[in-house]
Amino acid sequence: MATLADRDTRSDPLDAFRQEARDWIAANFPPALKGVDNTMSAVEGPSDPSPDEEAWRKAMGDKGWGVPTWPKQYGGGGLSRAEARVLGEELARAGATNPIGGMGVMMFGPTMLEYGTEEQKLEHIPPIARGEIRWCQGYSEPGAGSDLASLQTFAEDKGDHYLVNGQKTWTSGGQWADKCFAIVRTDKTKKHEGITFVLIDMKDPGVEVKPIRLISGQSPFCETFFTDVKVPKSDRVGAEGEGWTIGKRLLQHERSSLSGGGSASRLFGGVPLGKLAKEYRGEDAAGRVGDADLRMRIVRHEMDSRAFALTLRRAALEAKSNQGPSAATSIMKNVGARITQERAELTLEIRGMQGLGWEGEGFAEDEIAATRGWLFGKAVSIYGGSSEIQNNVIAKRILGMLDHQ
């Protein structure tokens, strides 16, 4: 793989932009934040941002570079994909993480850009681009998980507004969110065509959230109850009954962000497993990981991870040349989930009992974080469309196999 240093020596049409990005980062990125990245921040809710963090978020937000490819008129950076990639490289080089993220950036924004009216875009997208607002996803219900279209939350037409009643569940970040993009039923007689996409203010009377504790000990998600919640029709996205199409499009954004570059770059960050294994398990006489069985499984995992990274790259190149998604995209979420979980399992195994610490004395912070991360990571093959549902999609849509009778 070409390293950043290699690129520097090549003459590149993006050189000018690279220099601009580098200078801007140098002028605006507080050095104290170098290398600071809380991978659990998305699920742990808001922490008290330091003045440095606040300044960095504001700088990135004002510049539009938190969402570099979004159009300028809605607060985005207006960059090309190539420029955005260069920006990402320069941020990584400076040890900076993008402070603007969450469901607004990953899922809702891109969907809104496609389906929102001009007024809706102007109202909702700039606050996301500046990192000023948190969105949550009101999709799942107790009876509607994998089978999302079975949802029952009902929006009754009251002329200029809807009255929403029902229950959502597994609402990530519901207790911290300002707004919720939800799919609700407006017609009980039709399954898919009876669904409508609406935006709900989480501060509205009638919205109640109850946090649920996860097996990792964290409570990053909620049951959400709606009782006579008034949703103005101006907060409906698309036409009534078009919610399934819009909602599914949003799921595509969710899946690609869950499988894409983000998790891959994280995979290659952190301590390499081989090094960790030598540290915790010792070396044999030849300087190899002491446990031969473990050693080969680490290697198999490492090879899988590299094949995954190469696939991500190939898919990106193919998409660019074909102007459409590559067939390989369909496997990304499942491979990403598998690799993430395998890595956590191997880390646990390498550390033995030291890898199963829960809290308190005798464990380093990163050891406890790894235990909790191992448990939380069991969700990556469940949320955003479980691995089984992804396989069904691959079999039916890509391979043309039949629906289960």
């Binding site: 998980g145 089978d147 504790r213 915790y280 398990r281 069985d293 469940i382 089984e388």
Partner: protein, 356 residues
Amino acid sequence: MAVLTEEQTMLRDLAREWVDNEAPVTAWRKTRNAGVPAGYDAEVWKTQAEMGWAGVLIPEEHGGVGMGYLSLGLVLEQMGRNLVASPLAATAAATSAILLGGSDAQKAEWLPRIASGEVVATVAFDEGPNFAPGRVATSVTDGKLTGTKAFVAEGDSAQLFIVSATDGVYLVSGDTGVTRSTRAMADARSHAAITFAAAPADKLAGDPDLATKVADRAAVATAAEMLGLAEAAFAITNDYLKTRVQFGQLLSSFQALQHRMAKMFTELELMRSAVEGALEAIDSGRSDVDQAASLAKAIAGDVAKLVSREMVQLHGGIGMTDEHDAGLFLKRSAMLETMWGNAAYHRERFARLNGY
């Protein structure tokens, strides 16, 4: 299923009935939530001892019922099914050390008190986070033992420790020169680090393989607990798939899931044979207990891991919640997979024993 004597059948059925009626998973959840330092309910342990479980390995002349390892395994399997918190497995491992290496005086001193449930005993071999029986720095001078043992099961409450030192295996009672440091771990059971500072120690007889034999018995007992755990995780998952409706159908009607369940069922059958085979090998005094133990623990490790991870996955979102039992099974399984050598350790040992 192993061929059981009438007595063993009774023991198993009683254990199963008691575990299901008196110690469901909700009981463990309550103990966990209460944060009891010992990691188990002392009253419940008393009842288990009254039923004869603490003395299941101990001969009648020392106050036990002398039924052997298959019987112990039957009880541990039932406890594993409901994640019953009990010092039985640790105490039984310690008991096996006294039975194998104890003098008449040592047996007479400790076994009756263990059989009655008065003394909780445990084995303290490891000095690091991984099972590594060869790595021992703990030493004894003038009958005083000094060293630190890591992650000792039931270390918070044990009154008797079976400790490996550079020159053999020792009995150390918990009262003098012993410091316990609690370790809060994912399974919420007791795993303390124990520091011995010139603790009075009583040597067990000098069979050079004593530590290995004890570790093998502990590994097999652990595998028996894992068998119960894996079977329950499987059964709960199977029941769930038969009640959860998505796409207008029960999940159990999807062939993708049926085949996964069929595969797990197959693996569980192999696991049962390997575990029961090892228990029987110990009882019949076979010379290849080491191989049988490694086979059992390696397969148990792989299968319990498979089934406990699938339990979470196949329950979907509900399986990720603390309120559901799947997480309790997952965490306990990971701990048992690690104790007394994980699957990788035992595959490697099996290879060595077979000259590969």
